[in-house]
Amino acid sequence: MATAVGTLSHTEDRSRIWEWMTTVDHKKIAALYGVTGFIFFLIGGIEATLVRTQLAVPNGNVIDADLFNQLFTTHALTMIFLAIMPMGASFFNYLIPLQIGARDVAFPRLNALGYWTYLTGAVMLTSSFFLGGAPNGGWFAYAPLTSLEYAAGKNLDFYTVSLLILGVSSLMGSLNFAVTIINMRAPGMTMMRLPVYMWMTLVVSFLLILSLPIITVALVQLYFDRNFGTNFFTPDTGGDPILWQHIFWLFGHPEVYVLILPSMGIVSEVLPVMSRKPLFGYSAIVFAGAAIGVLGFAVWSHHMFTTGLGTVPQIVFSASTMAIGIPTGIKIFNWLGTMYGGNIRFTTATYFSVAFIFLFTIGGISGVMHASPAVDGQHQDSYFVVAHIHYVLFGGAIMGIFSGIFYWFPKMTGRFLNETSGKWTFWLLFVGMNLTFFPMHFLGLAGMPRRIYTYDEGLGWETWNLVATIGVYVIVVGVSVFIVNFFRTMRQPQTAGDNPWDAATLEWATSSPPPEHNFDVVPEVHDRDPLWYNRDHGIAPAAKPEHLHIHLPPPSYMPLIVAMGVALLGIGGLSHVAVAVLGMAVVVYGIWGWALEPTE
């Protein structure tokens, strides 16, 4: 049942919804990831807004301690696992085949399964608010606060089960991405001609492949501790709460780079195109990204400087953490080097990328500051660290994602987002995020601990807390302007053209939006910036052949069935074992059907 291009008979008799539910097209799956991720970005934003509203004034009374703890925990989980990672996966999905000159990812059905399991985990995690209470032990879920003794409800079981499901989803995605990038590059595209964005995707994929099994083990252990009476982390019975911290951060720190590296890749695509010159120091940026990935596995204990590590481990992990500052510094200099001597078009995408350099640097600086345990003794668990992570994740990851949205939107939809509105979004987000997060440095300096639902007056914390809360509302306005821009743009005609930015990478060699098969003729690559090479050497795009015989994988509902089985498994893990058994049966049925599905 192959879908031959040009004969649309298969799609016409399917309903639109069925088409989306059974799609294995990487571009459609990217759209699903992107829209779902953005919706969860809004949910995470609502959670943050409630948290900040409670903290606007001393002894605030907007929400109670219990809801506050649920909200700050789910804010982190939502932003990390349900918003930033899926939005990253959306770009990966969309761009990998297009940037390397392939027709799809290596395992299209696995790709679909990745999305549906993500949706399952995301809905499960968020539904906990309505099913007895959301996770309330912090996203790091330190033992023994998460043991049955101190956390009796189902809150923490929602945490373990949904994170396990989300982990499976990310693992499938990363394997797929790594295999695709390594094996399916267009002729001539050597590894050192890969776009930097592809390199960062590859590094992120390996980080996830290596780190997700670690958190999976930890989550299973925690689930067993809570449900089957094992004793991995409870000290009364010989378990060790510090063990949890080691396992968690051995995953948790690479995870930080999973969140930031994709945006570093986006900036490395946008800046050269908008500056109209090649990326400065391509190899340095690539190797620096890989070095960050490797070092990311050697620094986890800097999250634990205050746990009584001892003198030597403190020095070792301090040294390895400071070392990460070196490749990071190299990247920052190279982005500045890319701007140097350019003829820079200041589009909305450029604004976000330039702001990324500056804001991410602030997060990088504070990160290197608390690499020193002497300083970290004051910073750890204070608002200084809250400022730090938000400069990295909002100033870095989110600014990069917005840059990517404005940059690739014409490719994805054939339409330009409105630039005037886009610049409003930029300035509102830029001012809003600085108002929200810069004062947190001052609060940390003034000794305000994190994760407190209330504080007394008279500690010098009033002004900056109020400013931070006002900042959040500015961000809310900025995001709203973007949403309006999106819906208005989607009603415009598709006039963008193939390569509106005069960009250099292969995705701009095909139509906007690209056809289902991506390229009529798979392009040949002669240079790191293939389209600029072709432009400068007068190489015309290959003519469209008269007959296209391109076989694309047919749609399949098996991924959906497997994901439903996974959902039942999860529900079983939270309720009764019989449901889990049913879920297992559905998973087996789905995989069976999947294996026997005809590909032709």
Binding site: A65, D66, N69, G137, Y142, P144, L145, Y150, P235, D240, P241, S275, K277, P278, F280, G281, S283, T306, G308, G310, T311, Q314, I315, S318, A319, M322, G325, I326, G329, F333, L336, M339, Y340, G341, G342, N343, I344, T361, V368, S372, A374, V375, D376, G377, Q380, S382, F442, A446, G447, M448, P449, R451, I452, Y453, T454, Y455, G458, L459, G460, W461
Partner: protein, 344 residues
């Protein structure tokens, strides 16, 4: 190739002025925040001062990098902004330059690392022999302080002598807490089943604010304490006071309160030395309750009004409080307040 001549000079000057103004304003705000009651930047102990010297150095380096990157970003944005007929310089990199700017972060990191490692080596080892030992024990959600050499047990207020090293053994009875008095020392966690240690030598008498720094559940925000650093004579006097047993009042409302203390079951959780029935160890030792400045895990001032509010419904004041609402009658509260206030 960007703006040239006057345009370029103006762009650079504007960028530098904006950067200088930003750094200046941030500096003012930082100084202002360092002058607050729970400041992390006014060390009042020797080890704290050593850490703060490193902190200061790192702050200066951070400020330089911040200003440098901000100025360059602004200058490049203004100078190389698109112009009609402008041409971009086509270059792929510059090996010399790239090697140079690999060394800039290396240099910064080395300048940070050397003093950091020195301070860690000096301050995280064993405490000096002559140290005063205090066991600080974290409970959900209050701090207990036990001086094993002196036979004193108290809560929420920690009293220390000036100019004598103190060895704080950190323990927890339930979940992980963290002991943090920013002006005296960086924080160290209190981990159940695993004693941690921290030492410092307070060098200035005074009152310092402390707070739990590791998320520990519902009332994490309410888990606070104070440290009082005394001259040696004052500290000895305080110890003598704490060693005395509590006298059971013979008559009046306070005497009825002592009976109420038994009747309402307070004795099950609280110890009052001198009251043979009160031997509980779940809640704070109340032998010298009235001599403390704070109650309810350090969240409120220890005065009659707050004490009444606390006794009338503890979980309403401190969410999740392990002390339940005993539904005490107003008369019972009157009696208990009278009794508790005799426990000097």
């Amino acid at each position: 190739m960007g703006r040239s001549g006057a345009g370029r000079v103006i762009a650079i000057v504007v960028s530098l002025v904006i950067t200088a103004a930003t750094v200046g304003l941030l500096y003012i705000a930082f100084v202002d925040s360092a002058n607050t009651p729970q400041t992390t930047f006014q060390a009042m102990s020797e080890n704290g001062q050593k850490a703060q010297d490193v902190y200061t150095l790192i702050f200066i380096l951070a400020g330089i990098v911040f200003a440098g990157v901000m100025a360059l970003t602004l200058i490049f944005s203004l100078v190389y902004r698109e112009r009609a007929g402008g041409k971009a310089l086509q270059l792929h990199g510059n090996s010399k330059l790239e090697v140079l700017w690999t060394f800039i972060p290396v240099l910064i990191v080395v300048v940070m690392a050397v003093p950091t490692f020195q301070v860690i080596a000096e301050t995280t080892g064993a405490a000096p022999e002559e140290s005063l030992t205090v066991h600080a024990v974290g409970h959900q959600w209050w701090f207990e302080f036990d001086y094993p050499e002196l036979g004193v047990v108290t809560a929420s207020d920690l009293h220390l002598p000036v100019d004598r090293p103190v060895r704080v053994i950190l323990q927890s009875k339930d979940v992980i807490h963290s002991f943090w008095v920013p002006q005296l020392s960086g924080k160290v966690d209190m981990v159940p089943g695993h004693d941690n240690q921290l030492w410092f030598t307070p060098n200035t008498p005074g009152e310092y604010l402390g707070q739990c720094a590791e998320f520990c559940g519902l009332s994490h925000a309410n888990m606070r304490f104070r440290v009082f650093v005394h001259t040696e004579a004052d500290f000895d006097a305080w110890v003598q006071g704490q060693l005395a047993e509590a006298a059971t009042p013979a008559e009046g409302l306070a005497a009825e309160g002592a009976q109420q203390f038994t009747l309402s079951g307070c004795i099950g959780c609280h110890t009052v030395k001198g009251n043979a029935l009160a031997m509980g160890v779940v809640g704070p030792n109340l032998t010298h309750f009235a001599s403390r400045t704070r109650l309810a895990g350090g969240m409120a001032e220890n005065n009659e009004a707050e004490l009444r509010r606390w006794l009338s419904n503890p979980p309403a004041m401190k969410p999740g409080s392990i002390m339940p609402n005993l539904n005490l009658s107003p008369e019972a509260i009157d009696k208990l307040v009278a009794y508790l206030q005799t426990l000097q």
